[in-house]
Subunit: 354 residues, 4 copies
Amino acid sequence: MGSSFGEIFKLTTWGESHGPALGVVIEGCPAGVPLAVEEIQLQLDRRRVGQSKVTTPRGETDRAELLSGVFEGVTTGAPISLITYNRDVDSSKYENLRDVFRPGHADFTYWAKYGHRDHRGGGRSSARETWGRVAAGAIARKIIATAGAEVYGFVRELGGIKMESFDRDEIERNIVRCPDPIAAEKMIEAVLAAKDAHDSLGGIIEIRALGVPPGLGEPTFDKLDGLIGQAMLSIPAVKAVELGEGFAVTRSRGSQSNDSFYAENGRVRTRSNNAGGTLGGISTGEEIVVRIAVKPTSSVARPQETVSTALEPRTILVEGRHDPSVCPRAVPVAEAMLANLLADLLLRNRAARI
Amino acid sequence: MGSSFGEIFKLTTWGESHGPALGVVIEGCPAGVPLAVEEIQLQLDRRRVGQSKVTTPRGETDRAELLSGVFEGVTTGAPISLITYNRDVDSSKYENLRDVFRPGHADFTYWAKYGHRDHRGGGRSSARETWGRVAAGAIARKIIATAGAEVYGFVRELGGIKMESFDRDEIERNIVRCPDPIAAEKMIEAVLAAKDAHDSLGGIIEIRALGVPPGLGEPTFDKLDGLIGQAMLSIPAVKAVELGEGFAVTRSRGSQSNDSFYAENGRVRTRSNNAGGTLGGISTGEEIVVRIAVKPTSSVARPQETVSTALEPRTILVEGRHDPSVCPRAVPVAEAMLANLLADLLLRNRAARI
Amino acid sequence: MGSSFGEIFKLTTWGESHGPALGVVIEGCPAGVPLAVEEIQLQLDRRRVGQSKVTTPRGETDRAELLSGVFEGVTTGAPISLITYNRDVDSSKYENLRDVFRPGHADFTYWAKYGHRDHRGGGRSSARETWGRVAAGAIARKIIATAGAEVYGFVRELGGIKMESFDRDEIERNIVRCPDPIAAEKMIEAVLAAKDAHDSLGGIIEIRALGVPPGLGEPTFDKLDGLIGQAMLSIPAVKAVELGEGFAVTRSRGSQSNDSFYAENGRVRTRSNNAGGTLGGISTGEEIVVRIAVKPTSSVARPQETVSTALEPRTILVEGRHDPSVCPRAVPVAEAMLANLLADLLLRNRAARI
Amino acid sequence: MGSSFGEIFKLTTWGESHGPALGVVIEGCPAGVPLAVEEIQLQLDRRRVGQSKVTTPRGETDRAELLSGVFEGVTTGAPISLITYNRDVDSSKYENLRDVFRPGHADFTYWAKYGHRDHRGGGRSSARETWGRVAAGAIARKIIATAGAEVYGFVRELGGIKMESFDRDEIERNIVRCPDPIAAEKMIEAVLAAKDAHDSLGGIIEIRALGVPPGLGEPTFDKLDGLIGQAMLSIPAVKAVELGEGFAVTRSRGSQSNDSFYAENGRVRTRSNNAGGTLGGISTGEEIVVRIAVKPTSSVARPQETVSTALEPRTILVEGRHDPSVCPRAVPVAEAMLANLLADLLLRNRAARI
């Protein structure tokens, strides 16, 4: 209860930041999908730490081992187990955090909920848990590709700097994953400046899905919108999500915000896409457009006021190895979550009609 | 799959806008909760149509019948079934929509998913389905009250008009449920003007939960944030959701956005509440603050371009009885969904420790 | 939690024996199934009370109302709600049971679990709850029929009297649903004698499914065998279940009990069917054969030793209107549960391969 | 879907007989349970191969590694991941089975369901999968012990030889786990004779739970009886399950089979326990008594008639390393499944009352 996502294509992640290993078990992957561990590694490498000067120097290789569910290069329908061993664990920096709650982190709430906690590197609440989400997402991408769909994402805004042009090819060319190379430069400068100031930055990520067939989403509670909400807000540091025009649509009128239908090549299309690819919680066939708000990294090496587990006042300074902004690395995580969701809904949709 | 919400306190809604009846079955309500149908009716009346000049004139009484799960005024632990019969059904206005897709509505997507559909009043996709959510929410409110928690909501912004003052007592005193009486006047004018112009308005609703104990939420996928996302984005017309500072937090720095801890009366508190009452997906004990974007009502009595089921171009004008803005009536629905979620998480949390 | 069965084709029953009504909500029925309420009523009438001298005289018509999920005679994919109002409720016979536990019934365990209970006619634990299972089963039968499958059942043994011949056509011709007309006569005599003696009888029911395609069942916990076990042992009064040769197979040897494979008309068949139609928890395509043990009706109008809710000794004599053996009426219930399960597994199986 | 068991205390097993490793992830284990890997190993060793002359000589050590969910010797509420690497894998014996279906095994049904399969050692359908069930069961035992409950089991009958006396202390003293040492001798002889004859034997196992508090089980579909049925019939080779008197109760009368209530030390007790510890699907507080039928091992080194994947007739002789009867090793598996179920229901029951 809580560590699983999906109904048919269902992933269960496990593992702590400073435990011996992390992993994911994927149930419900259909048999017959060709799958090599290298395809999974490719996505994991996009999320990996230590990639550039804007990410943490923690030196994990994040190498995936594929332990089950694939036989002679093809999925068998059995659960797929993927594991990575933690190598570069340095818990010494965390010893002083054993009895104190870091502001902005889950230290206090885990302690309140469970009564005791693994304080090393955030334990279970660490974003290292997202390793398994990305690993599963690599498989999900293959499933949705069979229906012609793909997912990609990018940083729209970082530290208040907005992208002003869009070239999809630029995204993976810069270390902040921004489709506007000029804005990217500014973002990188801002991140480095924040890092120097022992501070951190937030930003806005956009995730898009192309080629999604109409019909995905299960009214009324498992609407595509609702499950996108869950998927995105389950990612560490994400505090808001919007589809299509999102908050901006509240300032338009129905006669403007409704997307008109027309027919094209035997398909129903809409002239605009204010709705972001869903109507009534079901995909329309238009691009699915999702934006998420990522808060500034909570770990900042500045003095912060807090309390100990004994409720005594403390001032702490969070050292350790942290990303000054998690936005660039959150892109593949958010992509993976959308892919995981779409794979699940694609399989669920097979039961929609007799 | 799709019509149920919750793991322990689980509701399943059923029924169509123009079918004979609508209802909800609630599983997992603990035994021992005193419950009278009048308590449920009280909440249903807040959501009911025909309440004022800003809502649709459809004259449903929405009267609830309590058919099971309660014996001698107390819940028994058995499923609770609640039903309301549709009385004021006028399907004649919809006959011309049998073979055409209304822009902004779920007509096309239901047709794409299921192959055929009940076109009368939106069928299953109608917001009339939310009757059951509000009915369940009335019970959920009683459950969370046993832990000292309560939920309320209001309209923050409507048609671009923002609330500028806050007085909780004002909310239910005006027909747009705005805590600022001066803004409320302007909002009402705007709604009536939109109605006269055969158009519609959107807005922003805020829902708050007070007295929620620390510890609710199930990492990592059933985080409080994630499930709030699902709950809110499963409400018709909602296109975005944010917690605490939401999108705005992306423009601050970690040293600013982190909420400092301090101790007060033996409890851990935070000096600010930028996080909106959650950390690591678990409630902190601070106020839970959620904002949602409600799009303008899709039904507008203006000519709109669309296509028929045979993919031929059409121009339609959606008549029928509609709210020019659903914001005021969406308040009790959003409140109910947050209450339903919190009740479920409160019960799930009982298994957190041995 | 507890009142639902199935993952995709999911039924949720609600209602108490002496409450105002009983019902079932079916989620996940695919769109496009032609469905008339009369088809459901046909199955309900097979389970109905007051059918013959071997069943209780309680005079319920068990008339089903179809409230949602069907439009113009075809399922829409939306939840299907079915309801029946209790008409012939006579709670007076139960007033003396308010504070005492009937042996063999759920009175004590409900009280232990929930702290209070609806004592009238067993409340939620009454076999009247099976109304909804049979109603759902009527729809499930239509779904599995699209794959060529059907389900039927009969009484093999009653009060120790065994069937000695088998003619499927005989089953519905006698009031004990035995395929051997000579044994049927003896069974009827035995039931009437037990009734005169204010006592009750148990028996063994066999349920078979024909035409089930190979491949149904989800290893390793949702094996066809495992879910048949759950389905059958969730029926009131059922205390054992076996597949194929069941307990008898424990006395054979592997070389005998293994069913040999051969090919016939391009299909893999087995020469014997000791396994009862499953291997590794997945259907083989052979007949599915299930036998269940039904205990004697717990309500007997003889003095029985028991205790009150205050733990004082009592002697009670359970009056009211009861079946002297529930076997004949349990046949359509067990058939329905197997049909419900197979419908669900058929839909789940659609996701087995890419 | 299929590889998970439980709602709150939920286990997900993964891995194939001849894959690199096997494992289990346990979600929902409450925080605060002291747990050492040695406690888990103790149970795993009871199930391990190569223990005696009546089990397969495959030389797995079955050593468990504990990878997550435990910090400083205490569970944290996070998922617990346990893994064992396969060491003594010899797939050469299976190469000739690549394109042929072994009678009594899941070869054909996996092929029918998934289109291709891992033929080595049964792949996913191998009883090696039960490693994870036993590992989880070791944790479940600790949870139910907090409520005073414990589980144990034994072989009642093997190859037609019945136990005739009962001494719990004898069970683990002999290699067939029979509580009657004289019958045990005969059973061992029978197993060795069957082994010499290249054949196999089945038997009947009994599992009991002591000290289970009244109130466990979730009517109406998640009855204790129903879930025991699922748990037991999901174990490889199990073909039948009965509670209490089971099939025998069908030959008694209600006046005999009802267990009379009396009060003892402020507790409600029953004078007999024909029901096997449940009423209405909820535990009574009496001993839970379950019996299961285990079929003879399907692998027999005798010529058997079968077909190939090309549907051509074949005669095969199944070599490899197999138990001539799986009964002794199935005891800890069945115990574990009952413990897993009871742990889950104990946690679910926490939400039964407000």
